[in-house]
Symmetry: C2
Subunit: 386 residues, 2 copies
């Protein structure tokens, strides 16, 4: 039954058929030449998505393991850092930084808002002795469906030497991003979002400016030590046994992205899908969490209307129509539902999702014009596919 | 070309066809009911292999991530621990413990030897104030092909309260093990060894005696925090997005182990395969690293004979005969080669491996009776399959 589900989660996302099949490949020697060739191809293709010439390294872990890696390699115990938060994953970054002994200046911009670059600028201007070693933030906040303006946040640093360290687990490959042009120092993403692959692998890009910080970092780490990963990468290896079947899938998924016209075309489709979902929600008079200017191309958070329990809604969609969307996280639990539209999604799956949403809303007694969301989506898709 | 390789590594190991196919399954919601059902089944089946009624938790990481988990959850900075080492992974455990601030009493029993339980007993008897908080060791040392007598090491503790924390990444499911009967406190294994699955998932079993230590541990950790894993497990979840495709494979691989007559029958086959490889090596006059009484059922380390470069040997086997074995690790690099025989291996693959070894040795000028290894293996297999 699970095999015919439409997965519209903000990760894990659907996997293109060729990538899914690749997951079944026979194991290989992760210290052999076949592995080195695969790792090189994957890394070069990943760099096109990060838009970077910097080192891009791979880790076997979920996104949260990657977040720990961002902290453990670039913060010494007692170091002052800014964590600019707009939701659940900003709070998680804070918790990880505290667990590793950082002195965290937690800037809470509020769930559903984006980071205000001016507030970052003010904070750093006030830090005359350059005690703040790094600014951490999300590129895309999965819990709220808000995308931050990373370029503006980077510029807001002015002449302050703080590193900009960005969690782009649910952003990269879906939302516009240019690591080198925007002078971002460290960027994390995961396999199970816009990389259209199963979970289990993280990618961490490290700028030349960030490497000396990593090299001299005294924090407790071993598995997530990027110095080890960098040394292994030079031998065409990962330091510890990699999640091979996930890498087989990633190799094919990144080829698939190239076949779709490359990352810029794929990102453009993400913004289109976002616009369709938002237009459909508006046609159904469902309030959107994110404002237009910072609405995420990865995931749309929608407020459950009066009298509609998001858990009942997502349950009906899953159990009756085999369409899987997400509920709320953290303080949004019980109040919002979230439609993921990143990664590998077809037009008809987008329409199917809106259709399942409408039917579930009808069953729960919500009053609206049946078909209104589907119709607006159809019109937008017809226009785009002309 | 890699798809027709015989993989005889000490991990990653070959994956049974049903488990390989399962890797390709469509993604599911890792916070949904399908996931909870799968996690429960996997955990119950894993407990049969650990021979435990204790909590068994899953992590998304390679074995080394699991090693870090064993340290970060049960050692406070400054705590005194014993690391009883017999090779590369004992040294790695030491390095991780040092990275996390432990006061390590490193007992080096020598590469190729097993841990002497008497030496452990003496060490603990001398520790009258019970300053040693834990004894760490490998169940099976992958780099040398030596299996420790964990039951004897556990008993050697006498009345000393030190925890016994065992890395069984390459042991569990291949070598005899009884967590509860032997009173082992914490045990780690990985998906890519005798669990016959792709790399990416660890299993950690924690005894009731070890949980309070974990609960009060002050070491820096977040991703590998077992308290979080335990709390999530009670909800049928893993704390962070799991490597789903690897879990799909594990579910089928553990069913496959049951279909083979259960774990005891599967373990018995491992000892048989070990005996075949050792007999073949002896027929070829190749010196074995491990003595009979502690020889590993997972992997056999063989000294390269005079004039035979292990790298050339493994290269010929791989490139000409598509049979992949491992070279040496650490100080054994350039001196030994290793044949993994754990996980999913057929009789004819065992014979094929010996055959490829013979042909490569012949090409490298080693003098021996061609077919001698294969013949002894055939005789043993005929006898067993009667």
């Amino acid at each position: 039954m699970t095999e015919d589900q439409i997965i519209m989660l903000p990760g894990p996302t659907q996997v293109p058929p060729a990538a899914a099949r690749a997951s079944s490949r026979a194991m290989i020697n992760h210290r052999g030449p076949e592995f080195a060739a695969m790792l090189t191809e994957i890394t070069e293709n990943a760099k096109k998505i990060f838009k970077t010439k910097c080192d891009v390294l791979t880790l076997t872990a979920s996104g949260t393991g990657g977040l720990e890696c961002l902290v453990a390699n670039f913060v010494n115990p007692g170091d002052k850092i800014v964590v600019a938060s707009i939701g659940n994953f900003g709070e998680r970054l804070r918790d990880i930084a505290l667990a590793f002994g950082a002195d965290v200046d937690f800037m809470d911009f509020g769930w559903g808002n984006c980071v205000d670059p001016k507030a970052i600028a003010e904070k750093l201007v006030a830090d005359k002795n350059h005690e703040i070693k790094a600014v951490y933030c999300q590129h895309n906040e999965t819990s709220t469906g808000v995308t931050n303006d990373i370029e503006a946040i980077s510029k807001a640093r002015g002449n302050h030497p703080a590193l900009l360290i960005v969690d782009s687990v649910s952003g990269l490959g879906a939302a516009k991003f240019r690591m080198d042009d925007w002078q971002v120092d460290v960027v994390l993403t995961g396999s199970q979002k816009a990389f259209m692959s199963p979970p289990g692998i993280d990618f961490v890009a490290v700028s030349d400016r960030a490497w000396p910080v990593c090299a001299s970092c005294t924090n407790a780490r071993f598995y997530f030590d990027l110095n080890k990963a960098r040394a292994s990468y030079k031998k065409g290896e990962m330091p510890f046994t990699p999640a091979l079947s996930v890498l087989f899938a990633i190799q094919e998924a990144l080829r698939f992205i190239d076949e779709q016209g490359g990352i810029d075309a794929v990102i453009d489709e993400h913004y289109f899908r976002r616009d369709v979902i938002r237009a459909a929600a508006q046609a159904l008079h469902l309030p959107l969490v994110a404002a237009e200017h910072c609405a995420s191309p990865s995931v749309t958070s929608i407020m459950a209307p009066e009298g509609v329990d998001p858990k009942a809604l997502t349950g009906i969609m899953r159990d009756k129509y085999h369409c899987v969307i997400a509920g709320g996280q953290g303080k949004f639990k019980g109040h919002v539902f979230r439609i993921g539209h990143l990664g590998y999604v077809t037009d008809l799956q987008l329409i199917s999702t809106i259709s399942a949403l409408e039917m579930a809303l009808a069953e729960l007694g919500y009053e609206f014009t049946m078909g209104a969301g589907v119709t607006v989506a159809q019109k937008m898709i017809v226009e785009r596919r002309k």
